[in-house]
Amino acid sequence: MSDNSYDDVRLTPARRFVLAMMALLVGGLAAAVLSIEEEVIELRDLALGNLEASGVGNPVTAVLLNYRSYDTFLEVAVLLLALIGIWAVAKKARIPIKSPNTPVLITFERLFMPLMIVSGGYLLWLGADRTGGAFQAGAVLGALGVLWVAASLWTPNDRLRRLTRPALVVGMAAFLLVGGGMMLLGGDFFEYPREDAKTWILLIETAATISIGITLVMLFIGGIPPNADQNKGESGDHD
């Protein structure tokens, strides 16, 4: 059997055993689910009750960017960390950047690019009061970038390449500066001034959207894109 073949999915005795163990696990979990009582503490009322003070109208955005903004900060850090990890491991990009220029893709791209930028921006703005936000907007922009790469519109000499690293870190840097800055100015860590919390949240969200979008594109490429590196010779270094 060649090693590259798909898994042999026959139910061997070992797999039967694993299956039995998993059935036991699920049984145990299900039994616990059935005995769950009404929650003792209602975080919901607290979250909804403080909505006005949070500066945004959408309760999920309030949790993400105000009550639990520290979680979201670390989550943006995870995004950057994963990307640095991939660049450390994969070195050169695995997916060929130069794919054939197909007229269909390029036309599609030309038609949709402005639309996607506008809808990304709208989602970002909408996040304050309705369903939307930095992650949704970043995902739309990321998808746009993936199409961009697939249509070979990314050229190694592009002036934008020098902006890759700054764009990757701007989201986390904004969180860090605003969160830490508020504290050094006498507030609590991540405590926005109550009167213009919304402005600060939008500022952070905009920076985060840029970083999320570009990170998703870079995750798709799966390695250091040619010439995206400021450190000459680094990406070509294989040892």
Binding site: A32, E39, L43, Y70, V78, G85, F189, Q230
Partner: protein
């Protein structure tokens, strides 16, 4: 203090993250920026420690909301000692890495620093977090950084080990998160103290404890879920091995400790603590026997970690026993963590020096090397003394504390295991130290003139000396541990 003490809680997380961003932005200057960041972070942790010692345990309400709506960061005696342990080992590893990566490729040099600073930040964030979901995010940060660092050397064995580490780590994180989901569905909050105030021994809480404990056991590499650890720790670059063995596994164990002392305290009188203790016994015996059989120094040291982690779980039944002196048991366990961190990082850094100077780390290659590499061999020997727990080392004090509590609790089986574990450790440490001190003629040495950069030799020796010296300063450390650590009893509702 110029700044209020709460500010240091945020700074010990923010500063290494800022350093990570800068080293990523300017890869050419990564070693310089990384070193400066390391010194600054160390300073911030010392400032936090002084603030906590001076003015009691501190709580930082992030965003000004306060738990349970917001997330609280908490620095009590336990988290402060963990931060300090990380900072001391971290500073030594920073110094070591300057020399170690100075001679490696530009790629490794550029990526080690941001990943290491991310790892440091995630350790600090983990020790301070007072919220079970936030702990999940810090755990994931920690795993991703650790996995990427493991793979950094790029050799097939290391990449495969990193892949396995990743899979086990992710499975462990997801089990932890499932446990958090059950806690939320049953109780409705995420703050540890809020959970603890209403937690009872109901089926969902029990299932949650089982999931969280199993997930964290995987990440801590408790026997028999240790299989991923030796290849990962042995194949990584030397400073990374030291980080993984001395610090990273302690992160997940710390969460286990914290949750069992609070949220899961009502389950203290079930069979669960005894299961952990039994697995601890298995770890000590199995890990030591494997360490006695390994042909290379790094694998030997990695299996020694499997064995030493067993001691952390050994006394969990006494830790959860209202009849025992639980604060004293906790002291023993925490002291053991700190002693092991110093000794194990020193041992891995010395092994790295040996590998660097001789080109391999086979035990047969180091015959007679004590004359040629005195600093490195002395470092390994001192670390070994602490691992074997000979007086007056930190390892001795730690085992003495554990032994006392085991005797007081009448746990004679544990007494036997602790003593037998020491003898086995003596066996595997002597497998390296014995040949190194053998007197042989120059032409019989594997390498005539082994060279170790000074920063690498001295940082290994510095940690090894600490592993001994901390044996004399135990009282001060244990005083810190008394600051504000909440230990709930099972009866309290």
């Amino acid at each position: 203090m110029i700044l209020e003490s709460e500010i240091w809680l945020a700074l010990v997380v923010l500063l290494p993250l800022a350093g990570a961003i800068l080293t990523f932005m300017a890869p050419r200057y990564a070693p310089q920026i990384g070193t400066v960041s390391g010194v600054i972070v160390f300073g911030a942790v010392v400032a936090l420690t002084l603030a906590v010692v001076e003015s009691d345990a501190t709580r930082l309400t992030v965003g000004g909301w306060g738990a349970p709506l917001g997330i609280d960061l908490v620095a009590d005696g336990l988290s402060t000692l963990m931060l300090l342990m990380t900072a001391v080992v971290g500073l030594a590893i920073t110094a070591y890495a300057v020399g170690y990566f100075g001679e490696s490729s530009a790629h490794k040099r550029a990526y080690f620093w941001p990943l290491w600073l991310f790892l440091w930040a995630s350790m600090n964030a983990l020790f301070l977090s007072g919220d079970v979901f936030n702990l999940y995010v810090t755990l994931e940060l920690l795993s991703l950084a650790a996995v990427a660092l493991t793979a950094l050397v790029g050799q097939p064995a290391a990449v495969q080990a990193a892949m396995r580490y990743m899979l086990v780590g992710l499975a462990g994180s997801l089990m932890y998160l499932m446990g958090v989901a059950f806690l939320y569905a049953e109780i409705g909050v995420l703050d540890i103290m809020a959970l603890a105030s209403v937690s009872e021994a109901t089926p969902p809480v029990f299932v949650s404890a089982a999931l969280i404990t199993a997930g964290l056991m995987m990440k801590t590499a408790l026997f028999p879920l240790h299989f991923w650890l030796p290849p990962a720790h042995a194949n990584a670059a030397a400073p990374v091995s030291a980080l993984l063995s001395a610090l990273v596994v302690k992160g997940s164990f710390y969460i286990l400790l914290r949750l069992w002392l609070t949220v899961f305290a009502p389950l203290g009188d079930t069979f669960a603590p005894y299961v952990l203790s039994a697995l601890g016994i298995g770890a000590i015996i199995w890990g030591s026997i494997q360490a006695l059989r390994q042909p290379s120094i790094k694998l030997l040291v990695a299996y020694s970690t499997v064995a030493q982690l067993g001691y952390l779980f050994l006394l969990i039944p006494l830790l959860m026993d209202d009849g025992a002196d639980r604060q004293a048991v906790l002291s023993g366990i925490v002291y053991f963590m700190i002693a092991h961190a110093m000794a194990k990082s020193a041992a891995f850094l010395s092994a790295g020096n040996i590998l660097h100077a001789l080109g391999n780390d086979r035990i047969t290659s180091i015959i007679g090397m004590s004359r040629k590499m005195p600093l490195t061999i002395t470092a390994f020997a001192l670390a070994g003394i602490s691992l074997v727990a000979l007086p007056p080392s930190a390892g001795f004090i730690a085992k003495w504390l554990l032994l006392n509590e085991a005797i007081d609790g009448g746990q004679w089986l544990l007494v036997v295991v602790i003593i037998a574990g020491g003898l086995l450790a003596a066996g595997y440490v002597m497998r390296v130290v014995g040949p190194a001190f053998r007197q042989v003629a120059d032409d019989q040495l594997a390498v005539a003139n082994p060279v170790v950069p000074a920063s690498m030799a001295w940082s290994a020796l510095g940690l090894a000396i600490l592993a001994i010296v901390l044996g004399f300063t135990g009282v001060y450390l244990l005083d810190v541990l008394d600051i504000g650590v909440v230990i709930l009893t099972g009866g309290e509702a």
